[in-house]
Symmetry: C2
Subunit: 355 residues, 2 copies
């Protein structure tokens, strides 16, 4: 795609939020990127316009049949005033995998990255610089055709919105309490669990809210078939350090192929930490805990980066992990990845894109 | 809820479509119903307004995390000029079951039915009367809060839109070809399969499109765990007549509890046809076919009412059902249910609501 991106600047720039009190995804910048799709035209009319509500038919298929996918990444401002994006090519590849599963047309990933760069440049003054903050980038695609027949929509809109964010958990990098969910399931093989699709999150909210009421930050999902194997935690991948080895569930079609997950695997291999990607049951975790071998547990995801788990609750069992404190490896991974993302550590892996 | 429903009539009534060429869910009437929800206020401001695109923040949670549920029912105009709705109380009960699973607040079903009646009265002239046509009623609820944190939205909008429709399949009541889907799955126990949630349909589209390319109208879903037991077909429940007995999958948490399904079960019992609701494997169907006992297969749903299946394709096996013709029982069920729905048959079961 080579169409020029038109830019229409706002005449009423908004007030920037207090960088020390951002929370996650509550504030949005002055502009957004939009691109339309029609089955006879392909993607067309890429444009940057003032951030504003969109006008959409109540019969638009996204409201009825949920054709909606998204991505998430973070932009940082370096000390020298450049913008850094972390592995955006990986997000674009995943976006197209999600599109394929949901029957949404492919996008030109390189073009969308150019659009994202251009949008961030326009709203560069919105990138917060306090420790732990960044500009969260949310590309998403929705089905816009007004039609109640169940099929792929003929029209879509791809949008990118930007949100200055603080740490995902209001507590910052603090160990969280997790509840192992034994009734509800998130996804199953043959389904859409590997896609970053709106419907997966809708399926997760009820268990999440129940867990919150009981004092847990997130739920740990088990597989839908045997209700035994670890899948992921809330909206993150999960890692367990057991007896010096790090184990994470293998990619199986129902868990999300996280970009942070992949980066953590690469770092651990480089550091010489033994790593296994494989099926891992909740019983194995509990046995390791009883034997005193459950050393660290942490979630990985773009929003939280690394989220140490201080307590794991499974039926009548409560497993305290690392005395409820941040583990050494969790801290090192967090420091390394946020260091690379913010430009404080040198990128030797061609992971960051600077502009 | 007792708030008065405000009515703002359109000043530009639309042109009505040709009743002989309606297709499904393509045309919409002059007005729509809207009601808002805020967690501190509950449902408020119920109103009938001219049908128009809605204005919604691009960060609205429905676009990102898929909190969206819907219902579907049909309104008919009787020969004496009254409007008939078919078991709307059942739709409202299911809507609240869907709401509960998706973390969406409960609605007052009776109030929503009143709103639907009022809306239909306003747009009564849009109800088509040709055989096979009706006014499709689509209530739906979407999460509207602009926020990228994953949780239940604090705000929602319930809307009702109306669409004059023809037969769901352009071919009318003609037997369709169905492909048994062996790779993709629709839902699993513990998930949201029983809810009329947008995300379920998003998960189904890819298999559906693949089947279409091969010349099939719909896919028959198997259970996600053993990939063996019949679940439902496309967006309908399914029934098999085998050796004089009618069998349909039991309600198991992953299939939709159809209103037409329930009505068919009642009618069959009244007619003295032996009926079983139970687990039913695809092998059992194939065995019955080989023995010459697979007499009829039909889907049930609000959109198509009864959809006879003329051919079932499972891996390398093609099963022709009833010589590819409409079965006697399928036809009788179709005639009875559409007869009750349109007021041509007398309602002795308190199923219809007249106004």
């Amino acid at each position: 795609m080579s169409e020029e991106i038109k830019v229409q600047l706002t005449t009423k720039p908004g007030e920037k939020p207090d960088s020390n009190n951002l929370s996650f995804g509550k504030y949005f910048t002055d502009h957004m990127f939009i691109m339309d799709y029609h089955k006879d035209k392909g993607w067309y009319d890429p444009r940057i316009v003032p951030y504003a509500p969109i006008v959409i038919d109540p019969a638009a298929m996204v409201f009825h049949y949920g054709q909606a996918v998204f991505e998430g990444m973070k932009a940082y401002l370096t000390d020298s005033g450049k913008v850094l994006l972390f592995r955006p090519d990986q997000n674009m590849k995943r976006l197209n995998r999600s599109n394929d599963r949901l029957g949404i047309p492919e996008v030109d990933g390189e073009f969308v990255i150019e659009a994202i760069k251009k949008l961030i440049e326009v709203d560069k003054s919105w990138i917060p610089t306090e420790k732990g903050t960044s500009l969260y980038v949310r590309p998403f695609i929705i089905a816009t055709e007004p039609c109640l027949g169940v099929r792929s929509s003929y029209t879509y809109q791809l949008m990118v919105i930007l949100s200055p964010v603080g740490a995902y958990y209001s507590s910052g990098l603090e160990p969280v309490k997790i509840n192992v969910e034994s009734s509800y399931t998130r996804a199953v093989r043959g389904g859409i669990g590997f896609a970053k699709a709106a419907g997966n999150y809708a399926a997760s909210i009820k268990a999440q809210e129940n867990a919150k009421k009981e004092g847990y930050s997130q739920v740990l999902w088990l597989d839908a078939i045997e209700k035994k194997y670890i899948e992921e935690v809330g909206s993150m991948n999960i890692f367990f350090k057991i007896g010096g080895k790090v184990i994470t569930p293998e990619i199986n079609g129902s868990i999300l192929e996280g970009v942070t997950r992949s980066s953590v695997l690469t770092l651990l291999q480089e550091w010489g930490v033994p790593v296994e990607e494989r099926k891992l049951s909740i019983e194995e975790i509990y046995d390791a805990y009883k034997e005193g071998n459950l050393e660290e547990v942490f979630g990985t995801g773009t929003a939280a980066v690394i989220s140490p788990v201080g307590e794991l609750h499974w039926n009548e069992h409560t497993m305290e992990v690392n005395n409820g404190e941040i583990g050494e490896l969790s801290q090192k991974l967090y420091d390394t990845i946020t260091g690379l993302q913010s430009g404080h550590l040198q990128d030797t892996r061609n992971w960051t894109m600077t502009f």
